[in-house]
């Protein structure tokens, strides 16, 4: 079945609506759309989609663009040293910052379709640029809202942290109501410069009819530090693609994620930690607790180039199955081309420890509450990575709200 995104009339109409944009932006959209229109047919056997019920991520039912007036709201202001603006505003005010878009490649972990659609049709998102040596205490907050009934929303964000700056960013992904079926496709391009530090927290609480595509590519410069903490709580299905390239010497990349699956929820996670430069460190920990019929797929790769000697890289996937029907698939991978390295990966899948459960029950705690406590404990080493202690408590509450007791 063809979606309207594929029709050139549809794209034409969209372009006319955005005719106020500079010519290079229009060219970029046109080019992306042409590449989308000529994408080769999806193959049945694609390693990048292994174990994934791919049809659940199709655009067939949501092939109209969103018409909600403000899909992204920002909290936190631009200042002399920081630019924090919505996508549309930045096109007008800071076209130069957006001009990197044509050279952005995305994570390239399977969702070419979403990436090219996002490049063609993105209408929202934000730009965060911190100038050299600027340290901001207050977190920048961005709230994204999923589109209304049977529509798709494409958005792009650019985060660029100049050398020696330090910034915290929190992104919320929410639905405006509990019943709309829609697709929210988000592309993030993140660059952390020399000696700079970025903490990013992603909280996804979409309603359980929505689809969430979350594609991010992170580039780390020399001595740069990036910590990503992701809470995947909502949506019917979520596809996360995360690529971290350590381009500068001794860059440090921490990627933490937790998913709480209920009903028929699907979390499809694909990650790569790519060490291009030597002395880099990366640490990945993805934890999934799966209830009812939920399903998680984790596919991760550590890639160490021949030049990236003295790399320390770890990748861990832990799955907790709380029902007979829950399902977890792991594809932890290593590709090591340098010999002076410390690399390891681990993947485990198991159920709740009977003894722990018994202990709590023997103290008079009902089984369901005991399970909840154990799951919260299971997630603690992700939430505990949050740099700001005030935030930790609120994130705990977020997770616990999603538990039916």
């Amino acid at each position: 079945m063809k979606t309207s995104f594929e029709s050139s009339d549809f794209f034409q109409a969209f372009s006319e609506k955005r005719s106020w944009e500079p010519g290079w932006m229009a060219d970029f959209r046109k080019d992306s759309w042409n590449r989308f229109a000529t994408l080769p047919k999806t193959k049945i056997k694609d390693e990048k989609w292994r174990f994934s019920p791919r049809t659940r991520f199709g655009y067939n039912d949501c092939d109209q663009l969103t018409d909600s007036p403000k899909p992204t709201t920002l909290e936190g202001k631009s200042s002399k040293n920081v630019i924090f603006e919505s996508f549309d505003q930045a096109i007008l005010d800071h076209p130069k910052l957006l001009s990197i878009l044509p050279s952005c490649t995305g994570p390239k972990l399977g969702s070419d379709e979403t990436f090219l659609l996002g490049s063609s049709f993105s209408e929202s998102g934000f730009i965060l640029k911190a100038k050299e040596e600027h340290k901001e205490e207050e977190a920048f907050i961005c709230r994204h809202f999923a589109p209304n009934q049977n529509r798709s929303l494409f958005q792009q964000s650019i985060v660029s942290i100049d050398p020696f700056a330090e910034v915290t960013l929190i992104e919320y992904f929410d639905s405006e109501d509990q019943s709309s079926t829609g697709i929210l496709s988000n592309l993030s391009h993140i660059q952390v410069g020399e000696g700079a530090k970025l903490n990013r927290i992603v909280v996804q609480r979409l309603n359980n009819h929505s689809t969430f595509n979350h594609l991010e590519k992170i580039e780390l410069g020399r001595n740069a530090q990036f910590t990503n903490i992701s809470l995947q709580l909502g949506s019917a299905q979520t596809r996360v693609e995360s690529r971290g390239d350590i381009i500068g010497d001794a860059g440090e990349f921490n990627n933490y994620s937790l998913s709480l699956g209920r009903n028929n929820q699907l979390f499809d996670q694909r990650t790569i930690q790519h060490h291009i430069a030597p002395h880099g460190k990366s640490n990945l920990l993805f934890k999934n607790a799966l209830l009812e019929n939920s399903k998680a797929i984790f596919s991760g790769l550590i890639k160490v180039d021949p030049k990236a000697q003295n790399t320390d890289s770890f990748q861990t996937n832990r799955n907790l199955l709380l029902s007979k029907e829950a399902e977890a698939s792991s594809l932890p991978g290593l590709e090591i081309l340098a010999n002076e390295v410390k690399c390891s990966h681990g993947a485990t899948t198991s159920k709740i420890d009977e003894q722990e459960l018994f202990y709590l029950q023997s103290r008079g705690i009902p089984k369901s509450t005991a399970e909840k406590l154990i799951v919260l404990g299971f997630f603690e080493d992700i939430i505990g990575q949050t740099p700001n202690p005030d935030l930790v408590e609120s994130l705990r509450d977020e997770v616990s709200k999603f538990f039916h007791t």
Binding site: K43, K45, D46, E47, R50, F51, P306, Q309, N319, L321, L322, S323, K324, E325, A326, E327, A328, S329, S330, L331, P332, G333, L334, E335, I336, L337, A338, N339, E340, V341, K342, C343, S344, H345, G346, A347, T348, T349, S350, K351, I352
Partner: protein, 469 residues
């Protein structure tokens, strides 16, 4: 025989062959239906076997190469220049003097007994050796063990072997199992009656007057209820194999309470594509153990698997891979849990030397209706030089709250400190390195029967020569 590629291989190493004119039967080069019919005709096979072969041939034609995930090097295989069947009608006659010196030397250094050495070198079977092994054969027959070649197995004992032949690994499993099913010859068919426990391991080269070193050998081992068997497949013919494609199919059937241990030491020369499909079926309380050691070949793709069909069945894969310059050891294990209380264990160790590349690919599957299944997987990789490469690609699919799996992999390099320590005690660098590598794989090597572990240690020493300094 292989199209030119970027991997440069010393073809002279394997350039040691029987003159083809000595063969009584030759199917020529290339593969077609006529070739399949010819092979079947030469073997005087029943119609159902010919049908099986023809069907497999058509599957082979249709199946794509697995290159969407596997090494692109596979595309260098030219199926049209391969000889699919050669048989001499009798043993090749050649004297020990005709065997090139370097091969003799290798045998010497490996410490292979003279009898086997001559056999491995393709020298006509010696009368003495026949006598030595035939007593063993007699003993086996007394116990009711059937130990024959694939042709004899299907011809003389169809009532035993037909039931399982091609059932564990159907022809359509992959392109190379289809190829093997179309043109197979050689290999071993073994049946162990209920309750018989073989004290001695069976080895392929006991069965002297048959074709052993087929390119497309087919092995089927059936261990009946409560029986035990250890089978050793020694491709210990170093730098000798002339063919460029070796594609075997090995099926094991362990019925209730049976135990099978299958040991392979693969040391093909560096111009061989070794694409082997090995799978076992384990019924209730049965135990299957694959011990797999890959040292030779240009590209090996081999993932021994166990389908745990009965309650409390157990599967195990112990694997050692050594990849040197120009080699890619793509090995792994598959554990398919299909009954409750089944357990599986995979321990894989690989060493990459020079520009060698070793990969681990694994599959563990536990569906949700099962309970109390367990899997443990450990992969350790050792990188010797800065150009060495290692990859790990496990796939683990688990359902249900009553099962548990754990997977761990680590990559490390030789510790400079330990090498220094050994050098300080008077070992030279190469010896120290060799000792280190032997230590790394030691806990797996101990699982091998004595003579194999000695041989393996020496093989590792040989491979490590000149890899440092």
């Amino acid at each position: 025989m292989i199209k030119p590629s970027n991997i440069e291989i010393d073809r002279e190493k394997g350039n040691f062959h029987y003159p083809t004119s000595k063969y009584a039967f030759d199917a020529g080069v290339g593969l077609s239906e006529d070739v399949v019919k010819y092979i079947s005709g030469v073997k005087n096979e029943k119609d159902w076997i010919l049908d099986f072969r023809l069907k497999a041939h058509s599957i082979f034609e249709k199946k794509p190469m697995p290159t969407h995930w596997a090494s692109k090097d596979l595309e260098n295989i030219d199926f049209d220049v391969i000889r699919y069947y050669l048989a001499q009608g009798q043993q090749p006659s050649r004297t020990w003097d005709e065997v090139p010196d370097d091969i003799k030397n290798t045998f010497e250094r490996l410490g292979i007994p003279e009898q086997e050495r001559k056999f491995l070198a393709g020298v006509e079977a010696q009368f003495d050796s026949e006598a030595a092994y035939s007593r063993m054969k007699e003993d086996l027959e007394k116990e009711g063990v059937i130990f024959v070649g694939s042709t004899e197995g299907l011809r003389d004992y169809p009532e035993i072997f037909k039931k399982w032949f091609g059932k564990v690994i159907p022809s359509s499993d992959n392109k190379f199992s289809a190829l093997n099913s179309a043109v197979f010859s050689g290999g071993s068919f073994i049946y162990v009656p209920p309750g018989v426990k073989l004290a001695q391991p069976l080895q392929a080269y006991f069965r002297i007057n048959a074709e052993n070193f087929g390119q497309f050998e087919r092995t089927l081992i059936i261990a009946d209820e409560g029986s035990e068997i250890t089978y050793m497949e020694g491709c210990t013919a170093p730098k000798f194999e002339t063919s460029t494609l070796h594609s075997a199919v090995v099926e094991l059937v362990a019925l209730k309470g049976a135990k099978i241990q299958y040991i392979t030491v693969q040391n093909w020369s560096n111009n061989v594509f070794n694409l082997v499909t090995k799978r076992a079926m384990a019924e209730e309380e049965a135990e299957v153990r694959w011990i797999d050691c890959n040292i030779g070949s240009r590209l090996t793709m081999k993932y021994p698997g166990v389908i745990l069909r009965g309650r409390k069945a157990r599967g195990e894969v112990l694997s050692i891979a050594l990849a040197n310059d120009g080699q890619h050891q793509d090995t792994g294990a598959k554990m398919v849990h299909a009954a409750s209380e089944t357990t599986s264990n995979v321990i894989a160790k690989s060493v990459s030397i020079g520009e060698g590349r070793s990969s681990y690919r694994g599959l563990v599957q536990i569906p949700g209706h099962l309970e109390h299944c367990k899997n443990n997987t450990e992969c350790d990789a050792l990188l010797i030089n800065s150009d060495s490469q290692t990859d790990t690609y496990p796939a683990i699919a688990i359902q249900g709250s009553e099962n548990s799996v754990q997977h761990e992999a680590s990559v490390s390099k030789v510790s400079a400190e330990q090498i220094f320590y050994m050098q300080q005690r008077g070992l030279n660098q190469a010896e120290a390195m060799s000792l280190y590598v032997n230590g790394f794989v030691n806990d797996l090597i101990r699982e091998f029967p004595m003579e194999y572990s000695v041989e393996l240690k020496r093989l590792i020493d040989l491979e490590m020569e000149g890899s440092v300094g």
